[in-house]
Symmetry: C2
Subunit: 365 residues, 2 copies
Amino acid sequence: MSRTNHRTKNMHSIEKNTCAILSSRPDDYPRAEHFSLLNCPLPALSEGQVRVKNRYLSIDPAMRGWVSDERNYLKPVAIGEVMRSLAVGEVAASRHPDYQVGEHITGWFGWQQVANVEAAQIIRKIHEQNHIQAPPLSSSLGVLGLNGITAYLALNSIGRPQTGETLLVSTAAGAVGSIVGQLGKLAGCRVLGLTGSDKKVEQCTQLFGYDAALNYKNYANSHDLERAIVQLAGAPASGKGLGVDIFYDNTGGTIADAAFTSLNMHARVIQCGTASIGNWNPLPQGPRKERYFITKRLMQQGFVIFDHLEKWPATVDILSELIRSDQLHYSEEIYQGLALAPQALENLYSGDNKGKSLVEVEQQD
Amino acid sequence: MSRTNHRTKNMHSIEKNTCAILSSRPDDYPRAEHFSLLNCPLPALSEGQVRVKNRYLSIDPAMRGWVSDERNYLKPVAIGEVMRSLAVGEVAASRHPDYQVGEHITGWFGWQQVANVEAAQIIRKIHEQNHIQAPPLSSSLGVLGLNGITAYLALNSIGRPQTGETLLVSTAAGAVGSIVGQLGKLAGCRVLGLTGSDKKVEQCTQLFGYDAALNYKNYANSHDLERAIVQLAGAPASGKGLGVDIFYDNTGGTIADAAFTSLNMHARVIQCGTASIGNWNPLPQGPRKERYFITKRLMQQGFVIFDHLEKWPATVDILSELIRSDQLHYSEEIYQGLALAPQALENLYSGDNKGKSLVEVEQQD
């Protein structure tokens, strides 16, 4: 809170800073070829800015939307611009009174080794590092970042899980889904998962506490998948405790369509992602849902974490405590070196990721 | 409240009672040919039953669902069964202590002149008839019945209208839509309507207080209609007070699709009907909405009035007072004679109705 003298070392332009820019716009899913690595030295720090040395970069499914020129919740990343990304790093220099050299911060620092940032780009300081048994710094981008906070707030604000209800999660072993499943169990729900490999099914039940999960790729068509989900969940009309009360959907498309038959009366559908849909222009077609809304009194609502930034710190505290008390587990896949960021993103859309995808940035000094 | 002697006259089977039965199951919209008129004398009243002489029968869009064998919120009407219908009439005989000869009651009395009913089929007694300036008996099936109560509860519980917001209503001049529009104005909203004829557009603005309305049949395709709705409402991104905050949808299908572009951030979509969709088997296709849910944080929810029977009497009081104080107007189209009930229903789906459709039952004595 008190104003201190601003540090004045490292205020000059730096010689070497590798960054990954968006070099062309993908038609559907971004691939490595849509990005280029450049040397992009930074100018001297301006008054009010902070220089952050990135330690980890976040690789997120939402990036597809950020590099698309379709209307979205954030301005599209421009061609030639450093790729927008959440990151966590260490303050290397500061001309802002609230941030001191050596502190860890997370925010919108982009796919680059070093960034000059304004205070508005900083989401929070990483206080957990001061605790004994602090989760690793990388976790502030996953379970204690975008993914965990999304899972917690969307599940609770839209899903409102009650003991004895059934929660179905798509991308069940993913960075968000794996947290949703565990939070559902902690809320007393039966938790079922849809995921894209037999290995992930195993992760769901053995690591993330799902009661059961299925690999949607094992079904030839939407009808077979629909039958499999009904078999997994029980048909809604068959009795109490069967069917699905909350559907946490990260995929949309035909995978989600197949789940609607299993929804119970007064079910809640949380639309948190649309990972299975490659292209929205022109609008893809799918089965109409209007009648489900009426006959089942469905409620479906979209969720974007950036509407809820004010709840971020309190939610980090809740999730940190669950991790410390061993009630919440998470899995990270860490790529070594900024140069792998584009490939890590491509892998995310092919479903090859295992848990939260991150890039560890090499130290340049 | 006090127990009185049961009336004992008219306890016997009656000679003549015309009823309209479902004689075949429609593939899509019910037409007059799907019903037959029969003479179906009633048995003697059993203990606990009430005999009601129907005065008005209700003709409702929801009847399409009731005569379909698709899963729905009520059991399908069987072939050969008297058509399910809300009705209002006078107690002609009673073997139930709570109902006395001469009282007016509304409930599930079917398309017939006279019905023997159990207490569970009776929704309420019409107390308004005791007031000075009482609305006519027929209104208990429309503005003070299914339609008005649906409009009031769905708009307020799901739409939550705020002063200065914009409300868009489909079937804007219909029995439900016309009430929704007026309630929206009373809540301080700008109110816009979609309707199916130029005459109904005129009704919307001159009788029901809409700020503006359009005839969706004047547009060659969904894109033209979409552009027209954007022009009517203002594009969501263009500034405060533009775009649509609440969409009260009674049609679904392509008419509703065309409205989604105009929806604002955090808009609420009330799914109250699907009048524009003829057949749900196989599921018709339409543009996917998943991305709208996320980018606009949409909330869409289905509403069926029969979940809310406990709120019926209090809502009747609120709406009655609005009628008495000339703040709520309604329009009824009354067909003369039970024999016209099937044709009245067919006309409803062709969009030829003007306000609430009713049948006045001829008196048989």
